[in-house]
């Protein structure tokens, strides 16, 4: 069975918390990449969105991208993710099936109520995808906003239909139709 990292929420009270989706998603990717094993360096473990944020932008908040977060988790935890752009969705499927997790930028405006963990938010967002379910092709998505802070908000990882993941990923500005940008973990299923 594929290793499942613990869910890490972005709304943790830390600096820039509501802009820390990519930082939280990368924290979960770092856990998957290392299978939860502490690198035992001078930095903290387990990974925290705040620690990644402090590396990405120590003096200001705002959005962060895949490269910035990759550089941060490489420095902090020795996690060398593979950042790739405009990967066809069918190929993304192969990468997940073959044993990798991925951070994916998405457009939140297309997320239906069932999966919406931030009602009214319609902008760019970052999620972590851990695995694909063979029976129906759904993906196990860790949305850093899904912390059940209110009764209507989902809690923890959710199985998203492949069609929803594709729609949300390809709607992210600057993405080709049918494609996805992503930071992939190492293949942990070797």
């Amino acid at each position: 069975m594929v290793y499942r990292p613990p869910f890490i929420r972005q709304g943790d009270g830390s600096r820039c918390q509501w802009s820390n989706c990519n930082c939280a998603a990368h924290a979960m990717a770092a856990m998957r990449h290392r299978l939860g094993v502490d690198p035992k360096n001078v930095h903290g473990w387990p990974p925290k969105p705040a620690e990644i944020r402090n590396r990405v932008s120590p003096t200001h908040c705002g959005g962060s991208d895949l490269e910035e977060n990759h550089n941060a988790v490489l420095h902090l935890y020795g996690v060398d993710l593979l950042v790739r752009y405009n990967i066809p969705m069918a190929t993304f499927r192969s990468l997940i099936i073959s044993g990798r997790g991925a951070v994916v930028p998405i457009w939140y405006g297309v997320i239906p109520a069932k999966y919406d963990a931030s009602p009214g938010f319609t902008g760019g967002h970052g999620i972590y995808v851990n695995e694909r379910r063979a029976s129906d092709g759904a993906y196990l998505v860790y949305d850093p906003l899904a912390d059940h802070r209110r009764a209507s908000i989902p809690q923890g990882p959710q199985w998203w239909p492949a069609s929803l993941l594709q729609k949300a990923a390809e709607t992210f500005p600057g993405t080709r139709a049918g494609c996805v940008h992503a930071s992939f973990t190492r293949d942990t299923e070797v």
Partner: protein, 49 residues
């Protein structure tokens, strides 16, 4: 779209895991996918609490 992907379609979902791993390795090594689009959004936006 990179030529390599047009020539070698990804394996079907139920293909052997080795086929997926081989395809994944080919794509990850392809320089075409390492190029950041000039029009790419700079990052995420601030969500609502």
């Amino acid at each position: 779209m990179p030529v390599k992907d047009q020539q070698k379609p990804p394996p079907k979902a139920k293909a052997p895991i080795e086929d997926h791993k081989r395809h994944a390795d080919e794509v990850l090594a392809d320089e075409a996918y390492k190029v950041k689009p000039a029009t790419l959004n700079t990052g995420n936006d601030e969500a609502k609490p």
